[in-house]
Symmetry: C2
Subunit: 162 residues, 2 copies
């Protein structure tokens, strides 16, 4: 594939071994999360998303509309010289705040669903360059390494079952 300097760098890489997509296939339904993954990767334009995801046109259209409606993405106009005006999709703050979910899904997908070559994607701390992962931390400052050390209890909004 030819990637021009103004294209998002992610366009140069295959999505075929994406551990986020694989994990979401297990956890529910892949498409919505795959669309978000594209935007997090800087892939903001309909045609690029379609080529990378192989989503049917109508499904992609619907998912983008839902994500705009839910306030996770916003439409921003752009114009390529000689072409008609179009719009691309950017994350809102509500969308950006899904980054921990994306990383959590990727971390799990990498552990259980990755190809032998390892993860197709890494998350980098801007400026510092260190790789970003998720950690479970408690209010008393402990890092929780064993998920068996986490338990659920009713929160402030819990109300009795009817």
């Amino acid at each position: 594939m030819t990637v021009t300097p103004t294209d998002p760098p992610a366009l140069a890489y295959s999505t075929e071994n994406c551990t986020v997509g694989r994990a979401m296939d297990v956890l529910g339904e892949r498409w919505t999360f795959v669309v978000l993954r594209e935007v997090f990767n800087g892939v903001r334009r309909f045609d690029d998303m379609r080529r990378r995801t192989s989503m049917p046109r109508q499904v992609l259209t619907n998912r983008l509309a839902t994500l705009v409606e839910q306030g996770l993405l916003r439409r921003v106009p752009y114009q390529v010289p000689g072409a008609r005006s179009r719009h691309e999709y950017r994350l809102t703050e509500k969308g950006f705040d899904l980054y921990p979910v994306l990383i959590a899904v990727r971390d799990w997908g990498d552990r259980y669903l990755a190809d032998p070559g390892g993860s197709p994607v890494a998350f980098e701390h801007r400026g510092c360059g260190g790789e970003v992962h998720l950690a479970m931390v408690c209010a008393d400052g402990h890092t929780v390494t064993d998920p068996r050390d986490v338990m659920t209890r009713p929160g402030p909004g819990a109300h009795p079952a009817s």
Copy 2:
């Protein structure tokens, strides 16, 4: 609802305002994650899950079968005196390792989709009692508070787009 001492405590609380279910409605498809939420809450038996989730019987049956097949849940036999033997569902290690995903989904759901009363559920550090949240941390030891400070780059398993 009557909850007996041997019932999981979660049975006493409503799932109607669950922020995990709401978040997964936005992010894809709620049912698989709702089943996992039940098991994380200690709700392991078909009839309890059905009552709490209002899932159609066949949908719940299918989701449980898929989760067993994918290695996230395992079936464990039990017998109530006077009744025939049945099985309940427990998390495998692969399933338990989804805890960060569950917490990430809950954290986001709490921020954007909770009722005014707040979150219906809390995660507690066993023994310590501190509330557990997710943090993005980088390999150099920084805690990343702004998701805009995270960027993606190709990982070791990335290969070129065809």
